[in-house]
Symmetry: C2
Subunit: 355 residues, 2 copies
C-alpha cells in the first residue's frame, strides 16, 4: 500500500479548524455579556426549520454560559423577511436565519449558497462548504455587506409540484400556467411555461379555479397541509428546481467580530447540531406524508429523463445569462459546477449509475 501523502494537507486543515473551535469554547465563562436580537425566516410552527431556528438561541446561550443572550423573533417580528439581509448588514437586526436564496433579488449569486436547479444534495453541499470553496466564497460575498454567515440547517429536497395533467415531455409544459418563482421559474419559462409567484395560501383557490394549471410549494411534509391533493391529480418528482437547500445563520459582522473566540465557537457548535437535527427530521417525516398523499388518490409521477435533460439545458441557459453580466455570479457558479461535476460522478457511481 502506498502512503497517503495527499491527505496530509487536509489533515492539517481539519486539525486547525477543530483545535480552533475547541479553544474558542474553552474560556466561555470569562466573556462579557452581549445581547442580540434574532429574526427567523421560519415560523415556530413550521416543521424542521421552525424547530431548528427557534432552538438556536437557548443552545448558544447555554454554550456561552449566557454571555450571549439572544431575543428571538418570529418571521416579520422586526422587519419583513425579505429585509433580513439588509437589516443584518446595518445592524438593525443582529442575527437572521434564512436560506440565502430569500435574497436573490439583491444578488442572484446568493442562490448558490442555498439551492440552485439541478444542484447538489446535502452531502455535496456540506462537502463544498467545508472542503471546497463554498465557505470561502460565501464569506467573501457576505463580508462586502458586513455579514458573517454560518451553515446552520437543511431543508429537505422539494417535490416537483402538483399538476392537473401528465407531463410526458417538455411539449406538455408549453403554455402551462404555473405557480413557481425564482430560478426554477425562469428555467420553466425557457420552455414556454407562464410562471407566477403567489402566496402559499392563495395556491389552492388559484388551482381550483383554473387560474393556474400547476404549482410547486415545498416538500411532501409541508405540501400535505395545503390540501392540493383535493384538486390536482398528479404529484411530480424530483424537485429538480430545488434539491436540498442549506440554511444560513446571518450575523452582523461588526457584532460577530466583537465576540470572543469562545463565543464564536458556540455559534459553530449550535449550528453543527442544527445541521444534524434538520437532516434527521427532514428525512424522517416525508415517508408518512407520502403515504397520506397517496391515500388521497394522488398519482405519483416522475419527470421523464428526456424532460429532465431539457429542463437542465434550460437551466444552464438561465445560469449563463446571469453569469454574463455578473462577475461574482460567474465565479461562484464556476466553483460550484466544477465541484459538482467531480462529486456528481462519485454520487452517480455510488448509487449504481454510470454517466
Amino acid at each position: 500500500m502506498k502512503k497517503f501523502k495527499k491527505y496530509y494537507l487536509s489533515s492539517v486543515i481539519a486539525l486547525i479548524c477543530t483545535t480552533s473551535l475547541a479553544m474558542q469554547l474553552a474560556h466561555a465563562q470569562k466573556d462579557k455579556t452581549v445581547r442580540f436580537k434574532m429574526q427567523s425566516g421560519y415560523a415556530l410552527s413550521l416543521p424542521i426549520l421552525g424547530e431548528v431556528s427557534s432552538n438556536l438561541p437557548k443552545h448558544i446561550e447555554a454554550l456561552t454560559n449566557k454571555s450571549v443572550r439572544i431575543q428571538y423573533f418570529e418571521p416579520r417580528g422586526l422587519v419583513p423577511n425579505e429585509g433580513i439581509y439588509d437589516a443584518v448588514a446595518t445592524g438593525a437586526v443582529d442575527i437572521g436565519y434564512a436560506g440565502l436564496g430569500f435574497f436573490v433579488q439583491k444578488n442572484p449569486a446568493l442562490a448558490y449558497f442555498d439551492a440552485v436547479p439541478f444542484g447538489m444534495d446535502s452531502n455535496g453541499l456540506i462537502a463544498w462548504f467545508n472542503q471546497g470553496e463554498g465557505g470561502k466564497l460565501r464569506d467573501e460575498v457576505l463580508a462586502k455587506n458586513n455579514i458573517k454567515g454560518i451553515s446552520c440547517g437543511f431543508n429537505a429536497a422539494e417535490a416537483g409540484g402538483w399538476f392537473n395533467k401528465e407531463i410526458n415531455s417538455t411539449a406538455d409544459l408549453k403554455g402551462l400556467k404555473m405557480r413557481i418563482a425564482g430560478l426554477g421559474g425562469r428555467t420553466y419559462e425557457k420552455l414556454g411555461v407562464s410562471t407566477q409567484s403567489m402566496a402559499g395560501g392563495d395556491i389552492y383557490a388559484a388551482l381550483e379555479r383554473g387560474v393556474i394549471d400547476a404549482a410547486e410549494y415545498s416538500m411532501p411534509a409541508l405540501d400535505q397541509n395545503m390540501g392540493l391533493y383535493e384538486i390536482a391529480k398528479y404529484y411530480y418528482f424530483p424537485g429538480w428546481h430545488q434539491p436540498a437547500s442549506i440554511q444560513t445563520l446571518l450575523i452582523n459582522k461588526t457584532k460577530w467580530d466583537s465576540l470572543s473566540e469562545s463565543q464564536q465557537g458556540a455559534f459553530y457548535a449550535a449550528c453543527n447540531q442544527a445541521l444534524i437535527t434538520s437532516i434527521a427530521v427532514g428525512e424522517s417525516i416525508q415517508g408518512e406524508a407520502l403515504d397520506f398523499i397517496r391515500s388521497k388518490n394522488v398519482n405519483f409521477r416522475v419527470f421523464t429523463p428526456e424532460t429532465l435533460k431539457e429542463l437542465n439545458s434550460a437551466w444552464l441557459e438561465v445560469s449563463a445569462e446571469l453569469a454574463k453580466d455578473n462577475v461574482e455570479f460567474k465565479k461562484i457558479a464556476d466553483s460550484y459546477n466544477i465541484f459538482q461535476k467531480s462529486y456528481g460522478e462519485w454520487r452517480n457511481l455510488s448509487s449504481g449509475k454510470l454517466d
Copy 2:
C-alpha cells in the same frame, strides 16, 4: 393551510434534547477532572476517520475546559482492534472508536448500527438514529455490555470491488473466488462465490497470482492506494455490500455515568462536528480518486439492475437466517427495515425514481 399539529410532539422532543445538551455544557468549569484512555480503530494516517477520531480528544478536552483528559492510542495501541468492544465493556480501555460492524462476531445485530448490505445512506442513518428507533435500540444493546455509544462519524460508501472479468449476471459470479468478508461475503456465497478474508496488504499478490479473481477493499480514495488498478481491469459499483457506514464512539458506561451532564454534552458536541467533518471529507475526496483510477485505464462498471436484485434477495435470505436464531437481530432488523422502506420511497422519489 391546515395546522401543523402532528409536529408539535417532535418540536417538544427536539426542544428537550437541545436544551439538555445546552444545559450540560453550561457548567463545564465546575467539573472534576477525569482521565480516559482512548483507542481508535483507524490509524492517524487514514483519510477521513483517522483525522476525525484523532481530533476528538483535543476537541472534548477544550469543550470541557480540560476537565476530561483523553490519552489517545492508535489501533492496537492497547488491545487488538477486535478486542476494543470487550475492553471498553470491562473498562480496560475507557473509550473506543470504531464501526460497530467490527464486532459482528460477538453479535451480528451490531451490523445494523454500522452498515448492512443494501442499507441506508448517511441521511437515512442520521434520521433512523435521531428520529427513528436506531439510537434507542443501540443504547439497549450496548448497555447490556456496560457500554455507552454515540454516533460519531461516517465512512463514505464503498466501491463494489475489483474484478478481472465483466459481471453481466449472477451466473458470472458463480465459482468466482473473491476477497470479501462479513455480511456482504455471506451474501455472495449464496450465489456461488467462494469468499475469503485476507489482510489488505495481501490482496495485490493474491489477485496477481490468480489466488482470487476479485476483491473489495474500500472506497475509491483508499482503493487507489492499493495499486489494484495494475492487475484488475474492472472496477464495479455500487458498493451494495457496504453503503455509508456510521461510526461509534464507545465509552465504558460506568465511566460515562460518572461524568457531569456538561461533560457528557461535550462528547455529543464533538461527535456532531465529527459527523459533519467526516461527510465533508468523505464526499470531497472520491472524485479525484476516480479520475486517478480512470487514468490507469481501469473500466468503471455498474452491476446490472437484475444482478443487484438477485444480490438483494440473497441478502434477505442471509438476514432471515440470522434473525431465526437471534431475537435481538430480528428486532433491530425489523425496525431498520420498516424505517428504510418509508425513507427509501422518499429517497427514490426525490431522486426521480418511482419504485
